[in-house]
């Protein structure tokens, strides 16, 4: 057996995993994660995770969009190549509003998606957990807890035993 990535425990229901996550955290593990086929209500709280900071990034993205749109329309229309059309002013917030709005939304949407991927460290096509055969069911109907070997409290025997005691239907060690 090569390097060990950590221990992986499989649970059958959302209720079980919420309880198990709470216990793992209470035990003092830090380098652990849960894996579920759909977002499970209350699990983030049980793991002690704070709310995502993504909205603040997106706010910034939206503000950039507004700024970019106004500068673009003002500079092209009123500075670089002023042209009188239809008796309208070279620049006015009235007609600039639609494009400003669209770019605000576009920039915000890009920030949401790419910000989310960046915060999650995705795409990451290889991950040691994929080595575990049972892990294929994480996208189907099973709920997992993984505890990494680099966690200071990790101990092959004890950790596996502890995970079993939480009601896991299967516990395996995952190779790096």
């Amino acid at each position: 057996m090569g390097e060990i990535y950590g221990a992986l425990a499989m649970f059958d229901t959302p209720e079980q995993i919420v309880e198990a996550a709470r216990r793992v955290r209470e035990r003092g593990y830090v380098r652990f994660d849960c894996h579920t086929p759909f977002p499970v209500h209350g699990l983030e709280a049980a793991m002690g995770l704070t709310r995502s900071k993504l909205p603040f990034l997106v706010l910034g993205g939206g503000a950039m969009g507004v700024l970019a749109a106004i500068l673009l329309q003002w500079w092209t229309g009123a500075v670089d190549y002023p042209l009188l059309i239809g008796g309208k002013p070279y620049f006015a917030m009235e007609f600039a509003t639609p494009v400003t709005f669209e770019l605000m939304v576009l920039f915000s949407a890009f920030t949401s998606v790419f910000g989310m991927l960046a915060l999650n460290g995705l795409p990451m096509l290889y991950h040691p957990l994929f080595n575990a055969e049972i892990f294929a069911r994480v996208t189907d109907d099973k709920f997992f807890i993984s505890i990494e070997a680099i966690d200071p409290r990790f101990d092959r025997g004890h950790t596996v035993e502890f995970l079993r005691s939480l009601g896991a239907s299967e516990v395996v060690l995952v190779e790096e």
Binding site: D12, T13, P14, Q16, A21, D33, C34, T36, P37, F38, P39, V40, H41, L43, E44, L49, R51, L54, P55, V58, L72, T76, G77, D80, Y81, L83, I85, G86, K88, F95, P98, V99, F101, E102, L103, V105, L106, S108, A109, F110, S112, V113, M116, L119, N120, L122, P123, M124, L125, H127, L129, F130, A136, R137, V138, T139, D140, D141, K142, F144
Partner: protein, 465 residues
């Protein structure tokens, strides 16, 4: 709490004895099974239509815009009608996904994926028309503010340029929203894939998703934000489309209610199209447990509501045209209802305002055949709405000597049919290669229902076979 003599409970949204595993099975199966023969037949037909679209567009580019029936004073006709028609259809997709998500309407989960896909394909179809109507399609990139040798910039005072921004933003954001929703389901397909190629492709596109709660945390917020952004975006896109008409000074086009009226119409037509497609998919793929009567009932109610709003807009326009005491306004509306295009006007009224009124009756909201017929009526009626607005306002302009009657050419007609071909081809490809129902989300709803109905730890006794 004191006794409640009669219970009123929430109807269940996932029917049958489902576990998480059976949901995975039921939906993945559609993609994994051997391609049915019917699919090939359907694909052959729609593919042929798409080829026709290509041929028509090629003919148009080689010959000129004159192959369409547009001619002064009717400078805009089927092209813009079809553009608005397709964009409108797209809107229900976003709406089902985004607004119903924000309103915590759990019933959306069964239909949102297909609806979002529909949005993308409809936007693709819509884009064709203005793109080719510019004439020299090979310089269509001039529409974007890109520096090039002439040193000029696009005119930001023109509503047509706002359209460029609105529609391209809309296409992009819809794609992102759809794709973000797909990631966990692509991972499901990846984990079930038998062949190397499939595993590789689904693997790459699922970005290595491993259901981590640390990821779900950001993922859910990103999804919520996208929903929050898409909602005003839908409103803005169709408002901008309405500006194409409403900023002008043409009676019948210039009226202040246009933005919300166009948005309501878009939702209306889009829901009708979702209804048509979902009824077909439900029947073809036997999805009765996921697209339940509750879903259909709700969709009927939304069509009734939006149809009535559209009726409200027609009535208001008519009333204010009279109230304005402006004779050009009055003439335009009388001409619409009783002039040479009266037939189109009354088709519009019967299909859009009258036909959905049947959904006041619960019996009718339970009858799949009636629903299907009405949804087709609405599709037709909403096409006519755009036709009526565009052509009847133009064909009798301020100079009676130039009045005329628009006739569509065979190129107009074949291009329009061809765009249906493109739309359906894309939709068929989608049902073949991607999960047509949001697997992860339906599981979330199931978990909620199991929890609510006291089944508690019903989890997954399905097991893997």
């Amino acid at each position: 709490m004191s006794t409640v003599s009669e219970q009123m409970t929430r109807p269940r949204l996932v029917l049958g004895e489902q576990t998480y595993h059976t949901i995975t099975e039921a939906i993945s199966k559609i993609v994994e099974e051997k391609t049915p023969r019917e699919w090939y037949i359907a694909f052959g037909i729609t593919g042929g239509m798409t080829v026709m679209l290509g041929a028509m567009l090629a003919y148009l580019v080689m010959t000129g815009i004159g192959v369409w029936g547009n001619n002064i004073p009717v400078g805009w006709a089927w092209d813009i009608t079809n553009f608005v028609f397709w964009i409108g259809i797209g809107h229900a997709g976003t709406l089902i996904s985004a607004i119903l998500y924000l309103f915590r309407q759990k019933w959306r989960t069964s239909i949102n994926r297909a609806a979002e896909a529909m949005t993308l394909f409809a936007v693709a179809c819509a884009g064709i028309y203005p793109l080719f109507h510019v004439g020299r399609v090979w310089v269509a990139w001039w529409l974007f503010p890109l520096p090039y040798s002439q040193g000029m910039w696009p005119n930001f005072r023109s509503p047509l340029l706002w359209d460029v921004f609105a529609v391209s933003t809309y296409g992009t954001v819809s794609l992102l929203f759809w794709y973000v929703g797909l990631i966990p389901d692509l991972a499901t397909l990846r984990d079930r894939a038998k062949s190397k190629i499939k595993k590789f492709l689904y693997g790459v596109f699922s970005l290595g998703w491993r259901g981590s709660v640390r990821h779900w945390r950001h993922y859910e917020i990103a999804y919520l934000l996208l929903a929050g952004l898409s909602t005003p975006l839908v409103l803005s896109v169709h408002s901008v489309v309405s500006f194409d008409f409403a900023v002008s000074i043409l009676p019948g086009w210039h009226t202040t209610i246009f933005p919300p009226y166009f948005v309501a119409g878009a939702i209306f037509s889009g829901f009708a199209m979702v209804m048509t497609l979902m009824l077909l998919a439900r029947w073809a793929y036997k999805l009765e447990n996921f697209v339940t009567r509750v879903h259909l009932d709700n969709m009927c109610k939304i069509m009734l509501a939006t149809g009535t709003i559209v009726g409200y807009a027609y009535a208001t326009e008519f009333f204010i045209a009279w109230y304005s005491a402006n004779k050009y306004e009055q003439f335009t509306f009388m001409n619409r209802a009783f002039g040479p295009y009266a037939w189109a006007y009354w088709i519009m009224i019967s299909c859009n305002v009258i036909s959905p009124q049947i959904f006041w009756f619960k019996k009718m909201r339970e009858n799949v055949v009636v629903m299907f017929i009405v949804s087709i009526f609405i599709n037709i009626g909403m096409w006519f709405e755009r036709f009526v607005i565009i052509v009847t306002s133009l064909h009798r302009d301020f100079l009676p000597s130039s009045w005329s009657y628009f006739k569509a050419t065979y190129v107009d007609i074949c291009t329009f049919i061809g765009s249906f071909g493109l739309f359906l081809t894309l939709f068929l490809l989608f049902t073949r290669f991607l999960p047509i129902i949001a697997i992860a989300e339906v599981k979330g709803v199931l978990a909620h229902e199991l929890h609510q109905h006291g089944h508690g730890a019903a989890g997954s006794h399905g097991g893997k076979h």
